[in-house]
Symmetry: C2
């Protein structure tokens, strides 16, 4: 059954987010023009234009990205794992149908080859039309884009990867399987030695039990696990986290191995990522540090 439409739900002329794990605080954006509204085989899709936030993509009534702040998420989910790895040549992206993560990963000088597996071809096609500054990621020669089920791909592929990024929506709806035990076990199997996984990790304020569970699960599978956090104003509570995991004890997520110079960062048009914020993103407020450490069996 389709979720109730977020348009005009709280107030005429506004989109109100109702489809996240955290529908409160309820966030409403003023809609200046609806660009597309429809359904794919997997989810409800909405693109609209907001004067303040630019173009906005919503899936099942949850904001996925806005032109105003998407860079925070795309840069950090990409460069945190890539720069924690000595030589991230081969990368797998699961999800990320808007192309934003592909855009960032393809910028990295050490990355040769990117396989991306997105379940919903309609999101890819529509993003090319309505979010060209993100979907431009798909134009890179490094990218091999496959439309299909991410779970099947990771279970059956013969390929092995240095870095795997899961850019998924919340664990309700089509992305639910991307947070289960056997998904992480499968990721571990297709990682090369020294490999790193980075997954969308929800809100440190609102999803404590969920984060505890996933971290506990991952710490049984991987040699090293940690949690990083960023500011992003259009996600619930203005924050989202990333779950980082590696099959090597040697991996130190908090110290980037590749450090971009200021010139490089300008050329790569980085607006959020720097090696300083890479390290600082692992420093959590005390209440969060405590439950993350507990979940990981530290102390």
């Amino acid at each position: 059954m389709a979720s109730p439409p977020g348009l005009n739900f709280f107030k005429e002329g506004y989109f109100t987010e109702t489809g996240t794990m955290n529908p409160e605080p309820s966030v409403s954006l003023k809609v200046d023009e609806v660009l597309y509204q429809g359904e794919s085989d997997f989810q409800r899709i909405l693109f609209f234009r907001s004067e303040k936030f630019g173009r906005v993509l919503c899936l099942d009534n949850a904001i996925q990205c806005t032109e105003f702040d998407e860079f925070a998420y795309q840069e950090m989910i990409s460069f945190l794992p890539l720069n924690s790895h000595e030589n991230p040549r081969e990368v797998l992206i699961i999800g990320g149908g808007d192309g934003g993560v592909a855009r960032e990963v393809a910028k990295h000088p050490k990355v040769d080859k990117i396989i991306q597996c997105e379940i919903d071809g309609k999101v890819v096609e529509l993003s090319k039309e309505f979010l060209p500054h993100m979907a431009c990621g798909f134009a890179s020669e490094k990218i091999d884009l496959r439309i299909g089920d991410g779970i099947n791909f990771v279970k059956n592929t013969e390929c092995r990867f240095d870095v795997i990024i899961t850019d998924s929506s919340d664990p309700i709806g089509p992305a639910e399987v991307l947070y289960q035990d056997d998904y992480y076990a499968s990721l571990n199997k297709i990682l090369k030695p020294g490999g790193i996984v980075c997954c969308q990790g929800e809100s440190l304020w609102f999803d404590r039990e969920f984060i505890r569970e996933v971290l506990g699960r991952c710490s049984k599978i991987f040699a090293k696990v940690d949690y990083s956090s960023i500011y992003i104003p259009t996600y619930p509570g203005g924050q989202i986290g990333f779950i980082m995991a590696s099959n090597s004890e040697e991996t130190d997520f908090r110290r980037p191995i590749t450090v971009f110079s200021d010139d490089e960062s300008e050329r790569m048009r980085l607006r959020y990522y720097s090696s300083e914020i890479h390290s600082a993103s692992f420093v959590l407020p005390r209440f969060a540090r405590k439950y993350v450490d507990e979940s990981l069996g530290r102390k």
Copy 2:
């Protein structure tokens, strides 16, 4: 003229924030019970109870604090300046009528004496009734609470302070004067040598021009100025910053001089502050680092 009431403004049964510098994204909280609604000589006052966020105080339709996340703001606006100072014995708080900052400052073992100047006695009285876990700050023997105009106080007082904290609402309405040139100049005059000022500093995402102006202004008055940032989900965009300034070149805001042990932090019931997050809070996303540095004449 009173602002339009935020209750039922977007949706029946919800409070929608309309009175901030950033009314979009519009944040709505479900109201389970209205505890108080009225007006003082200075502003509209609303207290309500939310199932998810506990008790909430709104002034002129802007959320000032919720029991769920107030600790983030109160701890950081207090311990950032206090722990950057070698011996913060005498402290001035301007604003802070809910008592939360007083509660944190009074906890600090080095603080002997706190003068607090709040313009609106009605906020203080109502906070004692509806937010006792915050207003308990006023019960400390260290506190000398004065109801009156902060501007007049800082212009006319003979007292001198090690640390001055401005805990004000947005620079619209009664707090507007707390962001002007002569306010900062007056603060500088009543600081003891090595003194530190910490002021509410708005959103790094939405208030770039405002932050530029205030930082530029402060860097003409003080020897050292910097900007720090925290997560707080019920403020616009889930983030707020602090403007830090000192009359001494020697002050290094980023390295706390007083470091609380884990035992001390537990005894002080710290939920956000740690010496690690103290330092990390000055590390900003690249776009913000750039404009903050420019405003301060760095590089």
